[in-house]
Every structure is written in structure tokens, then in C-alpha cells.
């Protein structure tokens, strides 16, 4: 993708973000100018802002550090691949940490006002009528993080260089909002804030054809499937007196299977049953049954659609 002309160019200055309408089939390149700069990123369905990129979903499918060849997914019950990470020359991104906020800089550093990713995102999104409450968890590009053995997430310095870039291919029309992370007193961007170059390109047919196919499932629901498709317009929560719960498959009726084990099978069962079930034979055998099923048939590891297996 080196020689083609961009259809949009912008240089994000420290402390700023930019909302960009990115149509399906267009590529947003987010590029280091000086190197060592974290970029926070939000994305919304351009035609329905209630669908947005969901770090939790993305983390479940692709792990803590998604990179080239992975997708940015929207939240349940939409669960669509909104963007495809087509290129990532540095290869370190994060979906563990939330965006930094003014609270962090006041509580930890004593600032009355300080650049922070939440407020930068909110200000950039305001161009499209969104509110500070609409900013969602950020996909943190060029951010190096680790999970320690005691389960804490930590930030480390980064080594991205000028020219390092991430290419995000839109699979749906989205409002894409990158911002220069505001953390100049943290190691996130090596204790400094630098500009970031943005470019938008049209993808080629070959690039589009190279995107792995993602599943189209009945469970990927949109407002036309919702029992309540209306976006709530007021702030207070009040009970609907007409509400009747309609939980899926409830009541969950059960059936008992009497399983006769031979002495050999009983010995085998006792040798593999897990201690967590105590002396509950039924629970232990159910665990055996579904653990076996997972190992033999599960096509979508981590409970998420596996790419390319449908």
C-alpha cells in the first residue's frame, strides 16, 4: 500500500483527537511521526452509534494484545467485525487498560486540568453529537502492557519508531476516532507527547479479498430483533409496570440419565474425576462429558467465533 494517494490526511497534534468517517472498504493508517506515541482509539457504527467497538469482545477473541490479522469486534448482541487490522509494523497494542481520565491526573498527580484520553475522545466525538458518556473503552495502539504473575496489568515503555503504523480496514461504515494519548507523565508514551499522522486510503480488491471471512450467525442481533429497540432519551430509570420477563430458554427443565458404569468404567471414572465436584458423581460425570466435547468438537475457542473455521 505504499504508492497510492491518500483521500484524507491529518496530523493529530498532542492533546487532540479526530473523528473520521471511514466507509467500508477504506483503510485508516495511523502512523508514528516521531515514534514512541500511544494512540487511543474508539469506533462506532456510523449509522447506529449504539453499536461500537468493544474491547472486551475483542480481547476474548484475540487476547490482550491484538495485532495484524485480527479484528475489532462490536459488543453483544451485535458482535460484528467492524475493522480488520491489516498491517501493524510495531505489533504492540493493548485492550486491557481503560482510557486515562482527568480523575487519574487529579488523584495521582494533583492536576486541576490535564490532557487525558477520555476528555480528548469526548471532545473529538462531540463533532458528531456524542456526549462524554458515549466514549467507550479504548483500543490502545502502540501501547505496551504486561500482566504480572499476581494478576496486575502494568504499562511499560515502548520502542515504536517514526514510520511505524497500523492500517485499519473498515468492514462497515464507522466513525473512527484516534487520539494522541494525553499521558505525558507516564511511561505509556515514554514520558512525552508526539504528533501522529493519519491517512485514509481506498483498499484494493486484492486487499479486500485477503480479509479472512468471519461468521454470519443468527445470534448477531440488531435493533430490529430487540424487544425494546427504542433508545432511551431521558436519564432517570423508572420501572415499566407492564414488564414481563422473557429470558431465553427459561425455565431450564432438566432430565436425568441413568448411566450404568461397569467396574472398569467406574475405576476409570474415579481416576479422572476432578476434586472440585467432591463426591457428586453426577456433576463429575457431566464435567467429563462436556470437557470431552470441548476437546473434540469446539470450533470457537474462548467462546468466540473462530476465524476461518466456518
Amino acid at each position: 500500500m505504499s504508492a497510492r494517494e491518500p483521500i484524507f490526511e491529518w496530523e493529530l497534534q498532542p492533546g487532540t483527537g479526530k473523528a473520521i468517517e471511514l466507509r467500508a472498504g477504506q483503510i485508516l493508517r495511523i502512523e508514528q511521526v516521531g515514534g514512541g506515541q500511544c494512540v487511543d482509539f474508539n469506533a462506532f457504527n456510523l449509522h447506529d452509534y449504539k453499536e461500537f467497538m468493544h474491547c472486551g469482545r475483542t480481547r476474548t477473541v484475540h487476547g490482550f494484545n491484538p495485532t495484524k490479522g485480527t479484528f475489532m469486534w462490536s459488543q453483544p448482541p451485535r458482535e460484528r467485525a467492524l475493522l480488520y487490522i491489516m498491517e501493524d509494523t510495531y505489533g504492540r497494542n493493548d485492550v486491557l487498560f481503560p482510557r486515562c481520565s482527568s480523575y487519574v491526573y487529579e488523584a495521582a498527580y494533583g492536576f486541576d486540568a490535564h490532557t487525558n484520553c477520555h476528555d480528548i475522545q469526548a471532545e473529538a466525538q462531540r463533532e458528531y453529537g456524542l456526549t462524554p458518556d458515549d466514549v467507550h473503552d479504548s483500543f490502545n495502539l502502540f501501547m505496551c502492557t504486561e500482566v504480572t504473575l499476581d494478576g496486575r496489568a502494568t504499562i511499560t515503555r515502548q520502542a515504536s519508531k517514526a514510520g511505524d503504523h497500523v492500517d485499519l480496514l473498515a468492514l462497515a461504515d464507522v466513525l473512527a476516532i484516534p487520539n494522541v494519548c494525553g499521558a505525558d507523565v507516564m511511561r505509556t508514551s515514554n514520558f512525552g507527547l508526539k504528533p501522529i499522522k493519519l491517512q485514509v486510503f481506498e483498499a484494493t480488491e486484492a486487499e479486500l479479498a485477503a480479509v479472512p471471512k468471519t461468521p454470519i450467525l443468527r445470534s448477531q442481533r440488531t435493533p430490529k430483533d430487540f424487544r425494546n429497540p427504542v433508545i432511551k432519551a431521558d436519564r432517570a430509570l423508572t420501572r415499566d409496570p407492564a414488564y414481563v420477563p422473557e429470558f431465553t430458554n427459561v425455565p431450564l427443565e432438566t432430565e436425568t440419565l441413568e448411566i450404568e458404569l461397569t467396574p472398569e468404567e467406574a475405576a476409570l471414572f474415579d481416576s479422572v474425576r476432578l476434586p472440585v465436584h467432591g463426591d457428586d458423581d453426577g456433576a463429575a460425570l457431566r464435567d467429563v462429558l462436556f470437557s470431552w466435547w470441548e476437546s473434540r468438537f469446539l470450533a470457537a475457542s474462548s467462546g468466540a467465533p473462530a476465524i476461518g473455521d466456518r
Binding site: 432438566t254 468404567e265 479422572v272
Partner: protein
């Protein structure tokens, strides 16, 4: 609690809800086993092999 134990073996009461049964029945319908009970026996046998080989995630 432990289920019935006899000199010839043991009866385990396996309680499954209808979603779990649906998965079992779909698996049987794929020809993996003749019926639900046969599937459970197959699962136990193959699970034991996997466990012995260290091939099961915890």
C-alpha cells in the same frame, strides 16, 4: 453425593438441562454414538485417554 454402587459397577444419575441435552442430541445425530448413553460412555473412555496424555486444559 455418591450414587448407587453394586458389585458389578455403579449407576450415576447424570442430570442435564435441555440445552445440554440439545448439544448431546446434536452430537449423537452426527453419528458420533448410537444414543445419549453410548455418548457418555464414549466421552468417559476418550476423556480418560486425553487425561492420561495430559491433553486436557484445566
Amino acid at each position: 453425593m455418591a450414587d448407587d454402587t453394586t458389585a458389578t459397577g455403579r449407576t450415576v444419575r447424570l442430570v442435564l438441562n435441555r440445552q445440554q441435552l440439545e448439544l448431546v442430541d446434536r452430537t449423537v445425530a452426527r453419528g458420533v454414538a448410537q444414543d445419549r448413553t453410548a455418548l457418555v460412555h464414549l466421552a468417559l473412555a476418550e476423556y480418560a485417554v486425553l487425561a492420561a496424555a495430559g491433553g486436557l486444559p484445566r
